[in-house]
Amino acid sequence: MKNYDLITPEGTKDLLFGECIIRRNIEDTLRGIFSSRGYSEMITPGLEFFDVFNLNSRYFPQENLYKLTDSKGRLLVMRPDSTMPIARVVATRLRDAILPLKLFYNQTVYRTEPALKGRSDEIVQAGIELIGSQLKMADLDVISTAIDSLKAFGMEFSLEIGHIGVFKELVGKLEVSDSDKERIRKLIESKNFPALNDLLDSFGSNSVIAALKKLPALFGGMEVFDKAEELIPDENVKHILDELRELYCDMTELCGSDTNITVDLGLVNKTDYYTGVIIKGYLQGHGEEVLSGGRYDKLISEFGYDIPAVGFAVNVNAIQKVIEKNGLFPAMPKIDAIVYAEKGCEVAAVRAANELREQGLVVENALFDDIETVREYAKEKKIAKVVVVDGSSREEE
């Protein structure tokens, strides 16, 4: 039998030293932003019952979940997402809590990705959920937190908003089967104009079909709203567009003119439980979104508590990748001193080291038998000071 005792599973990796510092810096930065806005941290289990993710709407296809069984043979999964477990907690233990609830998390999610594609199966996500408010101010609270989260890393970023309602309104007016609706959604998501046109043409021609054909092209700046209004003369859609336009203007004001903000009315991803506004964030130099979120007013009701919510998650691994790619490695904390104990003086040496630590220094205990090796080691590791504890005397060099 082949042994796999020297490698890590596909899609995972060990992080060492500087990599950990970057990881923790990102996490601390985001945690600071979230808690300064009154969000409180939650930690949910890494293992959940499969049923939590197997709701009617099946946002996570079962082939992408890591599964195992508990001692009673019940099916468990490694958490593929944090929002659904949080929805579960809100619908149960937090059912009587004062609203709105402002929650944040910073934890790993697991999804199986196709092998040999350079993707991670284990991703750290940091995000917020604002639960129990349908006000525009709630959307803005979340979006401005998203802006600050991306700004914090000092790299060029771009934000995008959309609204699933435009697609839902339009496709709701089409008299076609659910599987055809799903095909339309897929083609809009991939902006596959040729195939979308062919499929829609087979359903005839009217103003709804004409609008659906144009939907994936409705992305860009402010001009998108006018184009969309002209193209889709519908009261409900107009209402949605007005709401979105307002948000767009607010974001432009919050970000300043040097940040690229776009609208895409063709954002219609499958795994989204979103019911309203959708937000995505991109960093220059990363091929996928690094932030994604939106309004999900129906998700928690699937757990039996009908309450609106809005939130987003940041892909911490992606941010780390961009930081490393840009060569922005942090300085490793340096060691100020190493304390060497002569035979019999070990306790005194431990005490001496502690005294130095109290002064704020980073101090190692020497783990060699002779002072010569300690000096060589200190030179190699660029430790400025070697302290020798010998009987009652203490000698510094």
């Binding site: 991939s190 902006k191 596959n192 195939a195 992305f219 776009t262």
Partner: protein, 209 residues
């Protein structure tokens, strides 16, 4: 000037057709035509950089965003899948996926599970899945036509252009699976970050198809 838009081309015929298209747009493609063994080549007046890659790799590079755009056949897209925008049907590189058997073989007869040989297992699987048919799929790397002749498989799912190879080996197409042509794909982030440039290029391309 901004850094050039990187476009990955599938080496071979699609590459030649795309370069032909670029020349029609008025770009100077001398560097690509006289490439020698170089793999990354500039088209300075279009602010473009051409990357030459195998079909599957075009998708990989575009998905990761190390290339902004790519030209790749629908056959590869159907087999590989992936997350990107499939914006334009370029119209060249036309052919089709088809199901072929030995001439006169009654493929759908009987209830036994059929064996299919193919270079495109995902395409074959989803084709028969839609029919609700269980099939055994065997991946073949070289000339798939051999499999039914050697009686390893009942049929093949493969790319058919003229059908000459099939005919010369006593095989025939019994059903079309899907039409194929070259597609222009774009990374999902690049389209948003560099919208004006990419849309400008696409407009020019569409006007010259």
């Amino acid at each position: 000037m901004d850094k050039p838009i990187r476009i990955a081309l599938t080496k071979g015929r699609l590459e030649k057709d795309t370069v032909g298209l670029f020349e029609k747009l008025g770009f100077d493609c001398t560097a690509v035509r006289e490439k020698g063994r170089k793999l990354i080549l500039p088209i300075p007046d279009g602010n473009l950089e051409v990357v030459l890659a195998k079909a599957n790799d075009v998708i990989t590079y575009v998905e990761h965003g190390v290339c902004d755009m790519g030209v790749v056949g629908k056959d590869t897209i159907m087999e590989m899948k992936g997350k990107f925008f499939e914006l334009v049907d370029l119209g060249f590189g036309r052919c089709k996926f088809a199901l072929a058997t030995k001439k006169g073989y009654d493929f759908y007869r009987g209830y036994g599970v059929k064996t299919i040989a193919t270079k495109y297992p995902n395409v074959a699987r989803s084709f028969f899945e839609k029919k609700g048919m269980d099939t055994e799929i065997i991946k073949i790397e070289g000339s798939v036509e051999l499999a039914p002749l050697l009686e390893l498989a009942d049929g093949i799912v493969d790319i058919v252009e003229t059908g000459t190879t099939l005919k010369e080996n006593g095989l025939e197409v019994i059903e079309d699976v899907a039409p194929i042509s070259a597609r222009l794909i774009v990374n999902t982030v690049s389209l948003k970050m560099r919208q004006a440039e990419i849309e400008g290029l696409i407009e020019k391309i569409q006007a010259n198809l």
